[in-house]
């Protein structure tokens, strides 16, 4: 009984660690976007390229190598409940599942859509007390974040390539969830981010 409780506790700890890794990945994307703004690229594609490279490098260091380094420092049974295999399975599942849920719900898009809808429904005889740039930011929907999604796919492939030798079942998770992610991305690109909104009256 106590063994089972310990096992469950270990599983919860490894799942929390995976959740922390996913949260750090999100923070890294946010930080890299801020860093790219300082670089002041002349064209947008240059910014996207540099941002994608930065996000991939940062997330590779954060995700791919950190598990191996911790394992080699604190050597334990890789097949145990708090072992490397279980941690990697938890991480990859959470990583792919979180991205799928976010790309389906897309809270930032829904928030901006609600704000822009409120403005367009408002009687425009009343003055809107905002500068034009601020108003445009409120009205325009967010653009599709290509670096985030490129980095997501590449990091998942790196994790599978690097740790696939010790845990071949890792390959099954991206195969399953990438197929759903493909349809989610397609829906986002074609339905959410490429439809021009009519703001004229």
């Amino acid at each position: 009984m106590s063994l089972n409780t310990n096992n469950i506790y270990s599983y919860i700890v490894s799942a929390l660690q995976a959740a922390l890794q996913v949260a750090i990945n999100e923070l890294l994307i946010f930080a890299m976007q801020k860093l790219s703004n300082f670089e002041r690229h002349k064209i947008k594609s240059d910014r996207l390229k540099s941002l994608t490279i930065k996000v991939i490098i940062a997330q590779t260091l954060n995700v791919v190598f950190i598990y191996g380094i911790f394992y080699l420092i604190y050597l334990n049974n890789p097949l145990g409940s708090s072992g490397l295999v279980n941690k990697l399975l938890n991480f990859l599942f959470l990583h792919c599942f979180f991205r799928l849920v976010v790309s389906l719900c897309h809270p930032k898009y829904i928030l901006n859509w609600y704000i822009s809808r409120r403005y367009t429904k408002k009687d425009l005889r009343e003055p809107i007390n905002k500068f034009q740039i601020t108003l445009n930011d409120s009205l325009e929907l967010p653009e599709f974040n290509f670096p985030k999604y490129y980095a997501f796919y590449i990091i998942s492939v790196y994790v599978v390539a690097f740790y696939g030798f010790i845990n071949p079942f890792l390959t099954l998770i991206p195969i399953g969830l990438f197929s759903f992610q493909y349809w989610a991305d397609k829906h986002n690109l074609l339905r959410r981010f490429s439809c021009p909104e009519g703001f004229d009256l």
């Binding site: 490129y150 590449i154 492939v157 690097f162 696939g164």
Partner: protein, 115 residues
């Protein structure tokens, strides 16, 4: 860039084999380690050529000739199955007008010759 990053996964694969082989494979001897190091060196060389060399060197070594940039996949496929003219003159509405312009030009030139 996506292709380069995905090519790099080959190096990660070889690195993973080298690091985890001795930990998992208890009967690993010097021969296995040598083969893993060799695989790592080969993948490192391939990735270095693919990512950091110039286009000319890449073409010479990897025979990775760059295809012309097509506007879309359907254009590429029509080129591949040798039906470019059909697509250009009939199926694509943006370029079908060239056919009409050719017909009009031929009609004008013929009519001028008759006079």
């Amino acid at each position: 860039m996506m292709v380069s990053a995905l090519e790099f996964s080959l190096f990660m694969f070889a690195l993973g084999y080298l690091i985890w082989d001795t930990g998992v494979h208890f009967g690993a001897n010097g021969g296995f380690i040598f083969m893993n190091v060799l695989a790592l060196l080969l993948s490192g060389t391939y990735v270095a050529i693919f990512m950091f060399s110039s286009e000319t060197t890449k073409n010479k070594i990897l025979r990775n000739y760059k295809k012309p940039d097509f506007l879309s996949y359907s254009d590429y496929m029509s080129f591949k199955i040798n039906k470019f003219a059909k697509t250009f003159y009939t199926e694509n509405p943006a370029t079908a007008m060239f056919r009409d312009m050719e017909i009009v030009a031929n009609y004008i030139s013929d009519s001028q010759q008759e006079r």
